[in-house]
Symmetry: C2
Subunit: 679 residues, 2 copies
């Protein structure tokens, strides 16, 4: 008696012997090899494509003959004719094992295929979405054994897909009967898979085999902008990304003004809820048009946002978040339906909100943790997501701490005399000449430095309109490096600084960056008041990080990750000169881009990531800066540039910072500066 043929799958290396005639898909399933199938092995969906090897496989000690798999059958031939099968490919459900064989499962045939993430320290996203497609063949009704159509569909899902306790949304009951008959009792269903809170539920039904796509949205709901990625739920591919301004801005630029608006105006919270939901719907319409898809095929959505936006989105008055003890209505993750939130996507699309960490540390911070997973880091990582509020995470495998700190909007160019949002015409890079102490700069939309020939012509279109967040940081840092600004934060006189750009401006001095008035543009200056704003913002950020370091019991961190759009444009060296972040080697400061958005995308594409982040958030130690006396102390020290107490030896090893101060009383102005209100 000869042994059954040996089947070896690559890349998994899983192997086993199967009787001659076993379909490759069956062998793969029995071995637990990750081979996709939507139609359940009926030769319809073509998701189970495999590539059999031929020849010698020394590693496996195997010679594979050309007829190791059965010859093409009619189903494969028809499929190839209709749609074309790549050379060497077979349908795993049709090809059967004849002799020993090595079978490769290409990436696109894996259910749990991976979406590659570029940074080395991050794991790729494994595709395992909450909503999946299943093709089933349903028993016809039988008068001798009457049962509902739904019950027979459930039986089919159980028998053909091992799905238990599948329920159906009401609209499915309303639509199902004609669809079953139109598909001749063969249908494809989209099922929102269950979790510990919900049974799996059928949310859409198509007659026959549905060969199309279902989509999901990863939404980063910020105070200022709402951004969304539209993803193919089967491949994980981002189909389109888009953003709109948060229409709530008309109720207040920062979060606390919105909380105040709701306190001062009856129905104010409801107005803001309606505004943000309308903004969201406008965004979804826009993204649907951009991607040229039917919006009703969007069946899942994940939201990340700060606690105030979280509450306003849900229709919860954020009143309690405006005052101690900053009690959230709910901190756990939420599973809702899109129509609960008046969102116009698939009528029973599911919505998942990541958990909030604390009253000031929201689902956006949880999403950053999901993307950057400090809890899996061997070295101690500080992650700061800089926005109007900074969310700060510090941790490693041992533990993770979190807090938020009210940086205010200065880093976004707001409350700065010549500040503006990052947009063409905004100054984003600055250098000060060590000899002349005069500035040169670059503006967004133009690659030239302002002192290069042809700059004026290049910027004729946009003009030079102001300084954006990253520009103001470089500006202030350069002023500090070149002795125009002292450590306590005072701009010196022309005489003290030796700069012709400095000019008296009331009781203090200002620094002229660019005089656009001859061309009808603005005069762009940095005032001492601007310096104060930046000092307070960066002190808030640093003192939050410093407080977490205290709590962790460390004096330094191994690396820093800057999250948020802002982090992507900031100059590490200048940020360090300002003392925004703790002293680490510059190459240990990396940008994570929109980590909150990435976290949302992970939760969208991998349902296990939802359970993971819920558990991670439970483990995170929350630190409330408002009640920590040391926070105030750190804040005062951090008002100095870079810091009145912390030595920043690594920074000083690469940059010389003048020690001269311009006014013996100057420090007083920075010390104990008013705490910025949250927002």
């Amino acid at each position: 008696m000869t042994e059954n043929p040996l089947v070896i799958f690559t890349p998994s290396g899983k192997r086993g012997r199967f009787p001659v005639g076993t379909p490759v898909l069956t062998a793969a399933r029995q071995l637990g090899v990750d081979l996709d199938s939507v139609c359940g092995g009926r030769g319809i969906c073509s998701k189970c494509q495999i590539t059999p090897g031929v020849g010698d496989f020394a590693k496996h000690g195997l010679h594979v003959e050309a007829d190791a798999l059965s010859a093409w059958n009619k189903v494969e031939a028809r499929y190839d004719e209709k749609r074309g099968l790549k050379a060497g490919r077979r349908l795993g459900c049709q090809a059967t094992v004849q002799k020993d064989v090595v079978i490769d499962v290409p990436a696109e045939s894996q259910v749990h295929r991976q979406v590659v993430r570029k940074r080395a320290e991050l794991r790729d996203i494994v595709i395992n979405p909450s909503t999946k497609l299943y093709y089933v063949e349903v028993k016809e009704p039988d008068m001798h054994d009457p049962s509902g159509d739904l019950e027979r569909l459930r039986d089919a899902l159980h028998d053909q897909w091992e799905l238990e306790n599948v329920a159906a949304d009401l609209h499915i009951l309303q639509e199902m009967q004609p669809v079953l008959r139109k598909g001749d009792w063969k249908v494809t269903v989209a099922i929102h898979l269950g979790d510990h809170e919900n049974n799996p539920r059928i949310m859409h039904i198509w007659p026959g085999f549905y060969d199309g796509t279902i989509y999901g949205l990863a939404v980063d709901l910020g105070s200022t902008t709402i951004a969304a990625h539209l993803c193919d739920l089967q491949t994980g591919e981002v189909i389109a990304s888009s953003g709109v301004m948060n229409p709530q801005i008309r109720f207040g630029e920062d979060l606390m003004s919105r909380v105040s608006y709701s306190m001062m105006n009856a129905g104010g919270a409801a107005e803001m809820t309606q505004a943000v939901r309308e903004g969201m719907n406008a965004l979804f319409t826009q993204i649907g048009i951009e991607a040229n898809i039917d919006k009703s095929l969007i069946v899942d959505a994940v939201f990340v946002c700060n606690p105030v936006m979280h509450h306003l989105l849900l229709g919860i008055d954020p009143f309690e978040l405006g005052q101690a003890p900053f009690a959230l209505a709910t901190s756990n993750a939420l599973r809702l339906r899109a129509d609960d939130l008046d969102l116009n996507i698939h009528e029973s699309a599911r919505v998942y909100l990541l958990p909030c960490i604390a009253g000031h540390v929201g689902a956006d911070a949880a999403a950053v943790a999901l993307s950057e997973h400090p809890n899996h880091s061997d070295d101690l990582v500080l992650i700061v997501d800089v926005g109007t509020n900074a969310e700060i995470l510090l941790g490693n495998r041992e533990k993770v701490l979190a807090c938020s700190s009210p940086t205010g909007p200065a880093f976004e160019g707001a409350q700065i005399s010549s500040g503006q949002r990052a947009a063409p015409g905004a100054i984003e890079r600055v250098e000060i000449d060590p000899a002349t102490k005069l500035p040169r700069f670059k503006v967004i939309g133009c690659d030239m430095w302002s002192d290069e020939d042809g700059f004026e012509a290049m910027i004729a279109q946009t003009g030079v309109t102001g300084i954006c967040g990253s520009g103001i940081i470089e500006m202030v840092a350069e002023m500090r490096i070149h002795g125009i600004l002292d450590a306590p934060g005072l701009i010196g006189s022309p005489e003290q600084t030796g700069s012709a750009a400095v000019f008296a401006d009331g009781r203090t001095y200002s620094y002229l960056v660019y005089d656009g008035t001859p061309l009808g543009g603005p005069k762009i200056t940095v005032t001492n008041r601007d310096i104060r704003e930046i000092q307070m913002a960066k002190a808030a950020l640093y003192s939050g990080a410093r407080l977490l370091m205290d709590k962790f019991g460390v004096e330094k961190v191994d690396r820093v990750v800057l999250a948020g759009a802002f982090g992507a444009h900031i100059s590490n060296k200048h940020a360090m000169v300002l003392g925004m972040i703790p002293d680490v080697p510059l190459d240990k400061v990396t940008s994570a881009g929109n980590a909150a958005g990435t976290g949302a995308r992970i939760a969208l594409l991998n349902r296990e990531a939802r359970a993971e982040i819920e558990e991670t958030v439970r483990q995170i130690h929350k630190v409330e800066t408002a009640i920590e006396p040391r926070f105030q102390e750190h804040f005062v020290n951090a008002s100095a540039i870079p810091n009145a107490v912390d030595p920043f030896p690594l920074l000083r090893s690469i940059v010389d910072l003048p020690t001269r101060t311009f006014n013996s009383g100057g420090e007083a102005e920075g010390r104990g500066g008013r705490r910025r209100r949250r927002g």
Copy 2:
């Protein structure tokens, strides 16, 4: 060392020894004694009232002293002052055990108190509703250990009530924060308790202790009328009962005309769905006004209905129910929210629909099974719910069979020349004088027989307007008994019958019941066509029952239960003469009243009954009359009065039925009569 005092609870007889000072409620809980509490033993709700005995309890060998329980404390005194405590009563959470004691738990202090059902063979309803009230004290938010208000409320429900995985409806999140603060972190919540499909969910929240009532609705949604009982969910008491006409009647009197309407008119099903939901809302408004309660306190509702109404209520086109194989969209029980069905009760009230048994045997039949539980019967019981369709159940502990049979509306007085609905003025009782062969009768709203003195005066108000369902049955049966009508169903001539009331009416004879024309009223007659209608209706009913007997393998049943309003008014003897039901002793025919409505009430008041009926329905053997050849044969035999084949010996032992027939070809007209369409 002396032993701890002995505590004996009555009526349960549970006993145990407890340390001096143990609160009675604590002792009861430890022994599993059914003693209610909403406030969790805080002396607020007064639900845990008990009556300690004093003196000798020979049965228990115990002498109870007057100070066996602690003296009244302040809480009890205050409660008594404010609300009055019945003589001898104590609060179980306040009174503590001091010496051996016998403690009686009065019925109203039991959680699972019983609602008494009058008929001896039926179990009482044990109160165990799906939605219950819980008073909890919630931890205040703490900045050092931030968590959401909901999470602390969940913790309180877990710690104080052992409720796991409690979720909250979205509106609870929106309302909860001010309520928690208004109640100083003490709140009462209504929780819809979970089952295998859903976690428990908070559906309402009141500040402090809510001393009011929550309500549920048991709704019997019939083709003609919608009837509802409003129940107190804590006591089980029926607070109000009310009914409205089903507004769908404008789309067709019987179900099949409504199915046709939806087939013939685009959007017809949706129109009917809207109509029935509007009718339901009108009924709920009406019942709320009658009971003088706030409709938004109705938190739970149970619906029973036939399959067509079931689908129309849910917004499912009943198209498939109009043709073989009569496939239901879904047969399982459904758990929905009131707003899924546009019902204006509590915004997140739960709705439960009992399972359907088959395409023609609906949730109403399931409700009858829940009320009458043939599956628990020792003897073989036939249960018929007579409406436009008859639902028929036959069974005992061994097994239960079910079918439906299309009786048509003749039993409701429709399609009868002088027929009418049961209303004042309708003839409901008939006797024919053996000698004169002339009729006398009673009408609804008058206790006199029509041949008594003063009858004319008594009925001056209403007149004699027609014959209702029970009247027509007695009429036809009396005509048969007194030889005016032969077994095949032909009315004889005046000469053949010897009755002056018989008159030639076209090609057949009719029987004059009452000539109201002198008073401007109608002439009330029974035509041979009326007889045919009744023959077909009763043949459908009997042949359904007979078919189930075949399937069960029996020639007779032990007892018959008539369900439905009709069953309550019918004369058993006359029904038997007609051969509507199998031959059993007359005292074995009982009326169950509105058993479907009772079943709905049971499912409303006892959540375990829901699981029970779901299991029972799975066990019921469904028989589809449409595909059973013997049904047709039984139908033909049953067209004769009482039956062409079955001997009815018990009936014939009490009633003599003339054997003479009036026309040798008369039988042909009854034989193979058109099947009535379902409705």
